[in-house]
Amino acid sequence: MSITREDVLHLAKLSSISLSEEQVEPLMKDLDGIVNYFSQLDELDTDGVEPTYQCFEMENVWREDEIEEFEANREDLLALTVESEDNQIKVPKVL
């Protein structure tokens, strides 16, 4: 077993997901099985191999810094939030 109960709770915290008690055990079992499957990559010799993070064939894509019409207006966007006031999104008190 490489994934412990503590690991699951830590990962849930990193992932900003509050897990009820009954979710912890099954996730531990699932994640353990999945992570163990990854160990087959140890068979591959990757010394000196460059990693590939993307296959986009391109690097930076530039454009002029010009204002363009956007199809969504402010009202559309604010309508998506639960609470807003004076064109601002309301959130619970942070401090």
Partner: protein, 462 residues
């Protein structure tokens, strides 16, 4: 496919599609319908035709839209509780391009929530049934789109393919499924999953229809900087393979692959041979590692992309919480399906300090070896051939208890995503029980049309 003209009314095409959607409602292909707007659009096209005005190449053609493409028409849910009532303020570029050519969206097709899954069973709204057997899955994640085409509701449908989500359901339902070269179709306005492998593509009944839809969607979009200059520009009959040589990947024809699937794919290879292709069998030992690489890379990108769902700006927000952190955590617990949580947590695991080198970096290095292996194989051949999935459609509920078993469904589809190569699933035959099986053709980047040309060359006999 039928396109509206003087003799064929767009309204009739759309009404027929809506009627069939109703008739096959129990298959649950759709999350929501777009009836009123679709008919309104159709009437506008008919008026144009009556006046002799120019209409598009897909005038009046009804289609199903996977519900992870944003459109201002109706709600975009991604089959997740998180977006259950999400009214998109924007429309995806791919959708705009199709609609500019007169295509008409009749409904939002079902999927695994956030496109995480291979069976459509992870949908918050319940699974889609296989078009050939109600007790079996439609595959996934684009299961609703595939079944809608297979049931004859619509002549084409859109899907997204991050690790096989177009090709596997295409195989399970007996239709064409196209995952193009990475960067072919703009991802602007599509719910992001894994940004280094997400590809937009389609389902259709034949190579020409698929080619037409893809040629309209393909091409550069300023709103997605990963898009390539349009290369989908030939007539399909002109996109001929140069070598007329195809290699069957032996590593995907061995243990763990259903016997009937193997024999149907061998039979497909024989048909290609009879049509004048030289068929070799090759070993590609790196191929079998693609799945482990994929299930490290993809969850890492998922964890990042899904961090935006915080209950603040849009989407579901938990009703109960103590503080801001509680709002985030409870919202994400309620809004995500278990499979979404697994992937986010796996992603955060492989990226976390202490494990990054052993998993994430190792996988990205292995990805380089995978790309080298496929590039090398494609130096000698026009295309590589293998099954699309190791088995025909499985029973609903059969794999839900074991996520790893579900992931193994993707073993033959993920290499094309990790390498950015185009791959298509072509209906190749049926099992004795009447379940469809797809053959998969993979080619070098930008060889998409050539793959369709190969498929077309033996279409009538398949």
């Amino acid at each position: 496919m039928k396109i509206a003209d003087k003799n064929t009314k767009a309204v009739d095409l759309v009404r027929d599609a809506l009627d069939r959607a109703k008739k096959f409602e129990e298959y649950h292909c759709f999350i929501s319908m777009n009836e009123a707007r679709a008919l309104e659009r159709a009437r506008a096209i008919d008026e144009k035709i009556a006046k002799g005005e120019k209409v598009g190449r897909l005038a009046g053609v009804p289609y199903a839209l996977k519900d992870n493409y944003l459109s201002r028409e109706g709600e975009t849910t991604a089959a997740a509780r998180m977006l259950e009532h999400f009214q998109s303020p924007i429309t995806a570029t791919a959708v705009k391009r199709l609609e500019d050519e007169g295509a008409i969206m009749i409904g939002r097709a079902n999927l695994d929530a956030y496109a995480h899954g291979g069976s459509t069973e992870n949908s918050y709204f319940g699974p889609t049934h296989n078009a050939h057997d109600m007790e079996r899955v439609a595959g996934g994640s684009s299961g609703g789109s595939a079944a809608a085409v297979a049931l004859g509701i619509v002549p084409f449908a859109l899907g997204s393919d991050t690790g096989g989500s177009i090709r596997q359901p295409a195989s399970f339902n007996g239709v064409y499924g196209i995952k193009p070269t990475f960067g072919t179709v703009s991802r602007y306005g599509v719910v992001a999953m894994a940004s280094s492998t997400d590809c937009m593509g389609c389902f259709a009944n034949n190579a020409e229809d698929a080619n037409l839809v893809m040629s309209i969607m393909a091409g550069k979009d300023a709103k997605d900087s990963t898009t390539l200059d349009d290369f989908w520009t030939k007539e399909l009959d002109e996109a001929k393979p140069a070598k007329k040589k195809i290699a069957l990947i032996k590593d995907f024809m061995g243990d763990g692959v259903d016997e009937e699937v193997k024999s149907i794919v061998r039979n497909y290879a024989d048909k290609l041979k009879a049509a004048g292709y030289e068929i070799d069998e090759i070993e590609l030992p790196i191929a079998k590692y693609a799945l482990a690489i994929y299930y490290i890379v993809q969850p890492a990108e998922v964890a990042s992309n899904l961090s935006r769902y915080d209950g603040i700006r849009y989407g579901h927000r938990a009703a109960e919480f103590d503080d801001l952190e509680g709002l985030y955590n409870n919202t994400r617990d309620e809004g995500f399906m278990t499979e979404n949580k697994r992937r986010i947590m796996i992603g955060n695991f492989v990226l976390s300090s202490g494990f990054y080198d052993a998993y994430y970096l190792k996988a990205q290095k292995a990805r380089t070896l995978l790309i080298d292996g496929y590039n090398k194989a494609l130096e000698k051949y026009d295309a590589l051939l293998c099954p699309t999935a190791p088995n025909p459609a499985f029973k609903i509920g059969e794999n839900t208890g074991d996520p790893l078993k579900m992931y193994l469904e993707d073993v033959m589809t993920v290499p094309a995503n990790l390498t950015g190569m185009p791959a298509i699933s072509v209906p190749a035959g049926k099992t004795k029980a009447g379940l469809p099986v797809g053959a998969q053709l993979i080619g070098a980047r930008r060889s998409d049309q050539m793959l369709l040309n190969i498929a077309k060359s033996i279409e009538e006999q398949a």
